[in-house]
């Protein structure tokens, strides 16, 4: 977190910029810690399903007379160190984005404590970045996607996340606008309603992709998706719970003791 002060632009006051920088750093740290927990969950509940899917894929290749794919990185490394590093990078990335949103939202979403806002935004992040995109394009174990469609699948995946972010942003901005006229409760209901309608529109218009082989074991697919969603629930709830106190410490006035005395 050193070097933070050098980023302060002369146009803004140094204290605010320092605060924003510290929030970003703490968000990424919280994301990394949350990712460690998510890794443990995925290691225990996800990896058995990945192995079953790879075994199915290998059996399919063998019956088709194809040679087994060479392993550049051993399965043991992929399932441990590789999974951990991927989780940490993912956690740091979303921890950073989440902290940026928190820095903008704090003080602009009514009177709400830093801890409560942290948890609320973690829920919104899970909804926006994971659940809504995942309902359209759910996580798939190995042995399902065609190599020829990886471009299309990657593009649609990132597009649906971008659209999901837009839908969430529109719903929140419209809700905040309406709050002046309708009050907080009714405005929140309107925002949620708008979110549901826009999400349904988005889901209905995005192209369907179904590449699951007809004989792929349904239980493996279901257990894999359960593990994938569980990993994300662990990640986002831990992120919200860990970041809350860290953010509260950044936002607490330095003269807290003297304030009580006044």
């Amino acid at each position: 977190m050193t070097g933070v002060t050098f980023w302060a632009s002369p146009a803004t006051d140094g204290g605010s910029s320092l605060m924003a920088g510290r929030l970003l750093a703490r968000g990424m740290v919280a994301g990394v810690i949350a990712a460690c927990l998510a890794f443990l969950f995925a290691r225990i509940f996800g990896e058995p399903q990945v192995n079953l899917a790879i075994a199915f894929e290998a059996a399919q290749d063998a019956t088709a007379g194809m040679a087994p794919e060479p392993e550049l990185v051993s399965r043991a490394v992929q399932a441990t160190f590789g999974l951990l590093v991927a989780s940490l990078m993912y956690g740091a990335a979303y921890g950073g984005i989440y902290a940026v949103v928190f820095a903008f939202a704090y003080g602009r979403m009514g009177r709400i404590s830093p801890r409560a806002l942290a948890l609320l935004l973690a829920g919104a992040g899970f909804l926006t970045f994971v659940l809504i995109p995942g309902l359209k394009y759910p996580p798939n174990p190995p042995g399902i996607g065609h190599p020829d469609t990886i471009q299309l699948r990657t593009a649609t995946y990132f597009e649906v996340i971008a659209l999901s972010v837009c839908v969430m942003a529109i719903a929140i901005l419209v809700g905040r606008r309406l709050a002046l006229r309708l009050g907080a409760w009714n405005a929140t209901l309107c925002g949620v309603g708008l979110f549901v309608v826009l999400t349904a529109l988005m889901q209905a218009t995005a192209p369907d992709i179904n590449e699951v082989p007809a004989n792929f074991p349904a239980v493996v697919l279901w257990r894999f998706r359960e593990a994938a969603i569980g990993m994300q629930i662990v990640l986002w709830s831990a992120l919200g719970l860990i970041f809350g106190p860290l953010a509260a410490a950044v936002l607490a006035p330095k003269t807290g003791g003297r304030r009580l005395a006044r």
Partner: protein, 73 residues
């Protein structure tokens, strides 16, 4: 509801001081670019596109790529 003194959203008591947007913006840009680079290497490198030749990156993050919901094979 009495909120006459509040300049913020009705139904809420006065909000805590927000961080000025222009103080957050440089950090927001930095954080989002960093996050996108990280997500690119976890989720798309040596899959849809490739900056580094070979398959080592893809294979290393492979299980994470599947379990975190990115498209793979």
């Amino acid at each position: 509801m009495s909120h006459s003194l509040s300049s913020s959203i009705p139904g809420f008591a006065p909000a805590p001081a927000a961080i000025p947007v222009r103080a957050v913006l440089p950090w927001a840009a930095f954080g989002v670019v960093l996050a996108l680079a990280l997500l690119y290497f976890v989720g798309a490198e040596q899959g849809a596109t490739s900056l580094i030749s070979g398959h080592a990156v893809h294979e290393f993050v492979h299980d994470g790529r599947h379990l975190l919901g990115f498209p793979c094979h």
